[in-house]
Amino acid sequence: MPAMRVRQAIATALADEMRTDPTVIVFGEDIAAAEGPFKTTEGLLEEFGPIRVRDTPISEMAFTGAAVGAATMGMKPVIEIMFIEFLGVALDQLVTEGAKMRYLSNGKLSVPMVVRASVGGGLGFGGQHSQTLENWVAATPGLKVLSPSDAQSAYSLLRAAIQDPDPVMFLEPRVTYAERGEVDTNLKMEIGKARVVKPGKDLTIVALGQMTNIARQAAATSSTNIEVIDLCTIVPWDKKTVFESVKKTGRLVVVEEQPESGGWGSEIVAAVSAEFFGELKAAPIRITCPNVPVPYNGGLEARFLPNPTEVNYQIDQLMATGKAPQPWWIREGF
């Protein structure tokens, strides 16, 4: 199996889908001639030409809507929102138009489109280029929301997203673009299916995107036997895999890269609490970012993001007391 960087896995998945399906088209800002600011569309213009691989003006609303329209007329557009924050100006087209097309056409229209966007912190991009905004899109019926954590899942999930007949939001953790991993191009991953990336017996961590890697690092050094689940899909999330794991371990920790309020992890904790009420060995908890914008300063950004040290502190406390520990910003009186 070849080792690829995540950005290469994405470009390879795009190219493989474009070779397989002539209706797949790719457009976005600087994705053609410049091959994308993160080089996630490398080689596409050269191989597939300017009809199928297009640079757009800096007009997210227009080109997101154009993807919706093209999808209703038989194409499979994959568009790139360079930073997820730029989705703000295009949200109408995704949430209010694209996600409603099937419903408001009484089932006659499909919108097989993928919106790729880079997400997350850790690179020093500051308050307007470091968010995940996962919860924005997760709250819209009609959208599917995926986030890969490594090269394999980037490749396999992106192919699944492009093949899917519904609009898919594909959130790519920026910090992982340069990371290498082995990719089996024959490995299929399904939307709505989580991966157990590290088996364990005593505690379940559910994580997404780059938090999966944080959870793995924490698990590798923890004295607790931790099972790590890479959720992969936020909507529709894989209840079966999560429930099976929690049934076994009796303990749940969700690690999320977004502010505490309104996160998708609350859905997981609520569902697990309802399903296993009275059977859990400890309070199900979430480890999140604080309710503040992403700070630029390197030291502060590192504290802002969930990290292995904090994850292990929380887990140690939880194992010892069974009660939900306070997050660091409460412990430190902020």
Partner: protein
């Protein structure tokens, strides 16, 4: 041939059928207004009274495989394109026999067979989608044309400018039709917009543009045909500004008390129905008694439609969970 397609074919060239359709739209809207006023229908509605000639002119020029992305004020466009009065009225009443199964309502009409994309209730929302449909046609190499119809208010929203620029730079086969009915919701267009002729905004996108008299169906047809021909033959997009007038308020809650005195009356002297009637008499040789008979017949038909739709079944709760995704996923 479905009833919708037959209805579409009927209005392609026959001046009497075009007049008849205009009478139908007028009567339909008046009935909708009355049903809302009496509380028979819930929610809100946006009437197209005074804008019938544009709807019928547009429908008579387009092919049924040319998709139209229109707005929440599109009962007239939907009926002109061929949607049956039963399908439209049932939808507005929220009945299962409506074109969206009763889950859309007045602002969300749709019939793909006739080229009617789901109408958007977001100002400017349909414009990028029409451009995207046109992008698909360009890539597929066919000669279909996409159309976006939107109001004067949409010319101040970002989607308008972004879409015009994108369509121009990609030379997309799309026709943009601004139905300038003078009022953007409750505000006269001059209060919110520093220019009178909205079509000139296309100048900055190097796009052909012109205004036309939206009350006169022959002018409408000629103007739209020319833009459609350009788009179909690879000449790219056009912005047309149809000068019309909204005879009713913005929505059912609006009495439109803000109009300058005499403005409505002045526009009503060029009511598209009067012009279409005169034309039907001139070209179609209709007689005065024919006109009276036609109006009486349509009034009866719409009344029968209302009765029929009132008796139509409500949608089941199950339908609420359908058509979210391609395949139902239990969540």
């Amino acid at each position: 041939m479905s009833k919708g397609l037959e209805r579409r074919k009927a209005i392609l060239s026959d001046p009497i059928a075009q007049f008849e359709r205009a009478v139908e739209i007028r009567e339909f809207e008046n009935q909708v207004n009355a049903l809302f006023a009496s509380g028979t229908i819930r929610g809100t509605t946006h009437l197209c009274l005074g804008q019938e000639a544009l709807a019928i002119g547009l429908a008579s020029v387009l092919r049924t495989d040319d998709p139209v992305s229109a707005t929440y004020r599109s009962h007239g466009i939907a009926l002109a394109l061929g949607l049956t009065t039963e399908s439209a009225m049932a939808e507005i009443m929220g009945k299962s026999t409506g074109c969206c199964g009763g889950l859309g309502g007045s602002m969300h009409l749709c019939d793909l067979e006739l080229g009617l994309l789901p109408t958007s209730a977001i100002i400017g929302g349909g414009m990028p989608i029409a451009a995207g449909a046109a992008l698909a046609f360009q890539i597929q190499g066919n000669d279909r044309v996409a159309v976006a119809v939107f109001g004067d208010g949409a010319t101040n929203i970002g989607a308008f400018h972004e879409t015009l620029n994108l369509a121009a730079i990609w030379k997309l086969p799309v026709v943009f039709i601004c139905d300038n009915n003078v009022y953007a919701e409750y505000s006269r267009i001059n209060l919110t917009t520093p220019i009178e002729d909205l079509h000139i905004r296309a100048e900055s996108y190097a796009m052909p543009h012109y205004a036309l008299d939206g009350m006169d169906i022959d002018v409408v047809r000629e103007g739209i045909q020319s833009a459609v021909d350009r788009a179909r033959s690879g000449g790219g997009p056009t912005l047309i500004e149809a000068k019309t007038y909204r005879f009713a308020g913005h929505s059912r809650a609006d009495q439109a008390l803000y109009r300058p005195e005499g403005e409505l009356e002045s526009w009503k002297s060029r009511d598209p129905l009067l012009l279409l009637e005169e034309r039907a008499k001139r070209i179609g040789k209709m007689r005065e008694s024919d006109v009276a008979d036609l109006k009486a017949r349509i009034a009866k038909e719409i009344e029968a439609t209302v009765t029929l739709c009132q008796g139509a079944p409500e949608p089941s709760a199950k339908t609420m969970f359908e058509n979210i995704w391609s395949r139902k996923v239990s969540q």
